[in-house]
């Protein structure tokens, strides 16, 4: 019995492999499995090739995984188009539509040829059982259920939900197809059985969601009242979810004419006293730069989600990359300190979003959430998040007593650097917000002395953030000489690599920062104390966090940047291999 199973499927647009993957995912999750699904399409808007990967597990799934345990190819052409996204090993069970003919020579050229290659006359089985060839995916689901132990009742319930409303005939046909798939599998057992163990969580205990869902949910939980945005892949779903939900909570979503307007309206709503947010991806971030600076100098709370995709420019709009960290930290003219947070998976996107709102409101600052295409769009079955101890912070407004006592100074140079903030509608709190430098009251100034004080204030108020050890995940022996660091979606791979290396007996520790900027000097310094060798893993050409650490910290000589361009995901095993390699080098 297995604890972990990775399946892949590929076919033409009409073959419905993505829909099959979704059925599998929802069946597994409703049974209490942990699961993770990623999908991939050709460049066509509709009708091109498509594929998906589903990873099922009895434990938390850390990443999409590497080589497949099972691959279903509905035709060879489409399968090959996905290349490295659907990697086989000798142990992969390769199932294919018999009609497509035996595996072509190209398979060999790719290096590994699975030992178990299983032709199934899927189309024919469908026709026979269902009387139509529209139910092909149900035959596939049946095969997978039969061979790998995925509970068929849950799949059946899924079919009812999906086809129940579409007329008796369709549901029945699919049920028959499912049964025939199961039956076929039973009748033709695999040489090596690959049955997955029963899940540990009770049925109905899992949420099925992606990172963009969790960002929207986190925003609602934190009390977002305004979202202004403009569609862009792969972030649009956040706006789409909020525009279904936010009205219930007295909020508004405005689809704006562009990203500048999106952040503009958002800043306006924040000025008017409401928790506000916008979401976008790289090109949209570029356009938001100017108004981000306005929010910094006017000290307005604001949350900005950037779902990273491959860059520069339009780049690779549907692929993940971690190339926007410099931008998040350093874009915009002038001296600016703008907190940057990064979730590492679907689940923690929720808390990271709540953290972002809390930091924004507490420190009166824009906060950037750096997600990426992978965690934003991969669907996962995860445990219900316990929100009972999550705190919600509101911005500090001047009290009536304070306002009565002395004239209101919006930008008072307080000890903490945080000055109570009023908003339109509040009696006694009127002031001029502006992009121009100002004195404590808010009046424009061009004086260098006041400018220096205000810069100092704007930086000082964020100092406490660097002490937030709760924004760092530390695993392993604190004194270990070997270290792994990763952020964002790459952290999931690093976590598995850490487990692997530990299991192999290496004395290693792992640091995953959720707070990327400002650089928490002390946290890193403490972590690095024992480190002789290590890797900072990033999916970008430059390895941007590595460079940013160097700006502020003396990084151990033996700590190397391990980085490469986006759309080339890391595998746990290769990280372990690199670590072992490093260990041999002088430090």
């Amino acid at each position: 019995m297995l604890d972990d199973l990775i399946l892949g499927m590929a076919g033409a647009g009409g073959d419905g492999v993505v829909s099959a993957g979704e059925s599998l995912l929802s069946a597994a999750s409703s049974e209490g499995y942990h699961a993770l699904m990623t999908k991939s399409f050709g460049s066509q808007i509709r009708g091109g090739e498509s594929s998906c990967r589903v990873r099922l597990s009895t434990k938390k799934v850390l990443n999409p995984g590497g080589a497949l345990d099972v691959m279903v190819a509905l035709n060879w052409d489409d399968f090959f188009k996905f290349g490295a996204e659907l990697p086989l090993s000798v142990d992969t069970v390769l199932i294919y539509e018999e009609k497509a003919g035996p595996p072509p020579e190209t398979l060999k050229a790719r290096g590994v040829v699975p030992t178990e290659v299983v032709p199934v006359a899927i189309a024919e089985l469908t026709k026979k059982s269902a009387g139509t060839d529209k139910a092909k995916t149900s035959v596939v689901l049946g095969l997978l259920s039969g061979w790998f132990g995925i509970p068929s009742e849950a799949i059946g319930r899924g079919l009812k939900k999906k086809f129940g409303s579409k007329g008796e005939g369709l549901l029945e046909a699919n049920e028959k197809a499912l049964a025939s798939g199961i039956e076929y599998a039973r009748a033709h057992p695999l040489r090596t059985p690959h049955v997955i163990s029963k899940p540990k969580g009770p049925p109905g205990s899992k949420m099925l969601c992606d990172g963009n869902d969790m960002c929207a949910a986190g925003a609602l939980f934190a009390g977002v009242k305004f979202f202004g945005g403009y569609p862009i892949t792969p972030s649009t779903e956040v706006m789409q979810t909020l525009t279904r939900e936010i009205w219930k909570y007295g909020g508004t979503v405005l689809q704006c004419e562009d990203e500048i307007s999106g952040i503009g309206a958002t800043v306006g709503a924040s000025f008017a006293g409401r928790k506000s947010m916008t979401a976008t991806s790289g090109p949209g971030m570029d356009l938001k730069t100017e108004i981000l600076g306005l929010a910094t100098i006017a000290e307005l709370p604001l949350v900005i989600l950037n779902v990273q995709r491959g860059g520069p420019s339009t780049g690779l709009p549907t692929k993940p990359e971690q190339g926007d960290l410099y931008q998040a930290a350093f874009s915009g003219h002038g001296d600016v300190l703008r907190p940057v947070l990064a979730p590492t998976d679907v689940e923690d996107t929720f808390k990271t979003t709540v953290d972002a709102f809390n930091i924004a409101e507490q420190y009166q600052t824009p906060v950037i959430i750096l997600s990426d295409q992978e965690i934003a769009q991969r669907k996962e079955a995860v445990d219900l998040i316990d929100t009972s101890r999550m705190e919600i912070i509101e911005r500090r407004a001047p009290t009536e007593a304070e306002l009565a006592e002395k004239p209101y100074a919006r930008f008072a140079l307080t000890e903490s650097g945080i000055s109570p903030i009023s908003h339109p509608g509040m009696r006694g709190g009127t002031y001029l917000a502006a992009g121009i430098e100002h004195n404590e009251k808010g009046d424009p100034t061009s004086g260098g002395t006041m400018h220096a004080k205000m810069n100092e204030k704007r930086f000082r108020k964020l100092e406490p953030l660097k002490q937030r050890t709760d924004l760092f995940e530390l695993s392993g022996n604190p004194k270990a000489p070997l270290a792994l660091l990763a952020w964002g979606s790459t952290a999931g791979v690093a976590r598995e690599a850490f487990q692997l290396a530990t299991a192999q007996g290496h004395d290693v520790k792992l640091l995953v920062p959720y707070l990327l900027y400002p650089i928490a000097e002390q946290v890193y310094a403490g972590f690095f104390e024992s480190v002789k060798h290590g890797l900072l893993v990033e999916l970008s050409h430059q390895g941007q966090l590595y460079r940013m650490l160097r700006m502020f910290i003396d990084v151990p000589k033996g700590l190397k940047s391990f980085c490469r361009s986006g759309a080339n995901p890391f595998q746990p095993a290769e990280l372990v291999a690199r670590l072992v390699e490093l260990k041999g080098l002088p430090s």
Partner: protein
């Protein structure tokens, strides 16, 4: 009639305007104080939003809440303010460059959303703050520091644009006629929807002679005196085509039956949806897979 609760001076801040002596914007500011006084909302319920330019300095000279934002983005920001708190009286002010050059892309969308905003453009046919470059309303052939051999472009037509965008209230004024301008500003603020007033506000430092108050006095023709019916949109379009040639003042178009504002539709939606709200600690239950 009772004395107004808030007098013009109650809207005037301590900040001394740094405009050039004689700048048309002084007159606009006075008219605005007076219009606000007639309307009578307390200053803390009023928000002035502007971009960057000489004219965009207006918010700082009032006792209301003010947001002197960045160049060209006053309308998007104002829409956020209004949607966040529809109870506020929100006035947007700025220059011809701020509004129709760098900010021009936001205008049609602000108009078609039809929030209850008032947009005052101080049209001086030049970039004042940056010292005299071509503005989008500068006449063809104008010689400036950025057009030493004369401009090669047709000017834009703010009035015609606004009508084409479907604005419910479109008017033009000049501080050369203070009572007329003040009344138009008041009417625009009272109009329940997006209202636009193009104010010919002379730049005494970089403007041309025929753009000064004296010339306005001579040239100005009130639309009322022409017998124009402000409910006739096609006639308004036709008259607006004379922008740059004639100086018509008054209301070009006023929608006789103003449609519901965006924020009122939002309110309806919020009320309708409110019953579906979940308690905060159950928001995630929506994702549970049964």
């Amino acid at each position: 009639m009772n004395a107004p609760v808030f007098q013009a001076k109650d809207y005037k801040s301590e900040l001394k305007p740094i405009w050039c002596p004689g700048c048309g914007d002084f007159g606009v500011l006075q008219g605005l104080y007076r219009a606000l006084s007639s309307i009578g909302r307390p200053p803390h319920e009023v928000a002035f939003i502007s971009g960057i330019g000489c004219s965009s300095r207006i918010p700082g000279y009032t006792t209301a809440y003010g947001f002197n934002t960045v160049h060209g983005r006053s309308l998007p920001i104002a829409q956020g303010v209004k949607l966040a708190n529809p109870e506020l009286l929100v006035v947007v002010a700025g220059g011809d460059g701020d509004g129709f050059s760098i900010g021009g892309g936001h205008v049609p969308h602000a108009v078609r959303r039809n929030m209850d905003l008032t947009y005052l453009v101080m049209d001086n046919q030049v970039y004042g703050l940056t010292k005299g470059q071509l503005s989008p309303t500068s006449p063809r052939g104008l010689e400036t520091v950025t057009s030493p051999f004369g401009s090669l472009e047709e000017p834009i037509n703010p009035l015609l644009y606004m009508l084409a965008y479907g604005a419910g209230f479109v008017a033009q004024a000049t501080p050369a006629d203070m009572p007329g301008m003040t009344a138009l500003i008041e009417e625009a603020i009272r109009y329940p929807g997006f209202a636009f007033v193009n104010i010919q506000s002379p730049c005494v430092t970089f403007g041309e002679d025929d753009q000064q108050l004296k010339a306005h006095k001579a040239k100005q023709k009130s639309l009322a005196s022409l017998g124009h019916d402000p409910s006739n949109q096609l006639a308004a379009l036709d008259l607006a085509r004379a922008y740059g040639t004639e100086l018509y003042t008054g209301v070009f178009y006023r929608n006789p039956s103003p449609p519901p504002t965006y924020e009122s539709l939002v309110k309806l939606r919020q009320t309708e949806q409110a019953k579906k709200a979940r308690p905060r600690n159950q928001i995630l239950d929506a994702y549970l897979q049964k």
